[in-house]
């Protein structure tokens, strides 16, 4: 009886089932709160033709940026991708497609995907290139555009603590996109700083209930800082 114990013992097991041309939703904001080891495993697997949904694409040589090195990414759905040179080069060469999505719309698309809401209206992007080709409609005299939800074959997220059942909590602003990403994957994998036993997390303080999580793996993190700024 495995019950609800979702802990796996290797990155290979954690990412088992990932195939070419799949869609992967990744938590994180910049380099903060990213599942470093799961990304490294994806590089190791050399899976190609991936569509990655993530607010950013890491930096040259770290985070999702390492998947660019062997051209594993076919398409990025992100709000901001200005942090790496390889990305720029592949985009200009036509080797990489990008679908720029406003940050709040991206977060809401993931949440909607996980929540069984296929589409919603938002004022964000109306009258801009983001709204082009999308239905627009007025509610109470204001125009909105229709945005469809996003789901993925896999979701990879990073938590601070998770119990064996997959209940997660996040630390500080490393929460960011992780809770929404967790809900939107057919298979959701959490890479975690500390695995704890069920009951150690206060039930009403859990950010991501275990029902969204399929696999839990103990990670080891570099936690690189993207822009170190200290008080003068």
């Amino acid at each position: 009886m495995a019950g609800f114990d979702k802990v796996v013992n290797s990155y290979a097991e954690a990412m088992a089932g990932l195939e070419d041309n799949m869609t992967v939703i990744a938590g994180g904001f910049g380099l903060c709160g990213i599942p470093e080891g799961l990304i490294a495993q994806m590089k190791l697997m050399q899976t190609k033709g991936l569509t990655i949904v993530s607010n950013n694409c890491g930096v040259d040589g770290f985070g999702l940026g390492i998947l660019l090195e062997d051209k594993q990414i076919k398409k990025m759905i992100s709000s901001y991708v200005g942090e790496n040179a390889l990305f720029e080069q592949q985009l200009l060469n036509g080797e990489l497609e990008v679908e720029l999505t406003p940050q709040g719309t991206l977060a809401e698309k993931m949440r909607a995907g996980g929540a069984g809401i296929p589409a919603f209206y938002t004022a964000t992007g109306y009258g801009t290139p983001v709204g082009e080709g999308k239905e627009s409609r007025e509610f109470n005299g204001r125009p909105y555009i229709l945005e469809e939800s996003i789901t993925g074959d896999f979701a990879i997220i990073k938590a601070y603590k998770a119990d064996r059942y997959g209940n997660c909590i996040y630390r500080h602003t490393a929460q960011n996109f992780n809770p929404m990403a967790a809900t939107a994957g057919k298979i959701t994998i959490v890479e975690v700083e500390h695995i704890v036993e069920p009951g150690e997390l206060e039930p009403s303080q859990i950010h991501t209930p275990g029902i969204y999580v399929d696999r839990v793996i103990q990670g080891s993190f570099e936690k690189r800082i993207e822009r170190k700024v200290v008080a003068k």
Partner: protein, 218 residues
Amino acid sequence: MALSREQIAMRVAQEFQDGDYVNLGIGIPTLAANYVPADIQVMLQSENGLLGMGPNPTEDQLDADMINAGKETVTAVTGASIFNSAESFAMIRGGHVDFTVLGAFEVDVSGNIASWMIPNKLIKGMGGAMDLVAGAKNIIVTMTHADKHGNSKLLQQCTLPLTGVNCITRIITDLAVLEVKNQAFYLSERAPGVSVEEIQAKTAGELVVPEYVPEMQF
């Protein structure tokens, strides 16, 4: 004389009222946090999921899990809250943030703003800017009145791809404070020592000038 970046930020900070929740964009807007009047409190929202952003950390406080929307290391003030990105933009889109201050390439008399994309240059993405201009109750655009070549950034109609439509009501530049209404820019203040004529010369869009235009007070 045209205001410095710091002076623009100082003028922006005069807009804040006690108890305001404020989102400050990168650049001049962020500087405004340094000039909040001593007798009021504002709380800074950072759209990556932090309400109550504090100053940058000391070396001892440095924490990779504690960053702002510009990906810089920050701290949280007493009474801060931290949440996910969907919640953060629910706040923004839902009109709960009182003020957003952000930069722009162009603004026009319809209150349109272009701030994220220059065709044929690399497109980095809009980040949270489109959500912010669609959601905040009050938006202040801070920018230089004209570009390096002297071309006005206050236009009759924006030429660059837009960030949002009909959303800008107030602009604070190095030369002036202007309201946007009735398809025109209304000049309400000028920088100390800057003439109305100079502002007129550098404003391409319809400009309405009242009889008396006071100088900004610092």
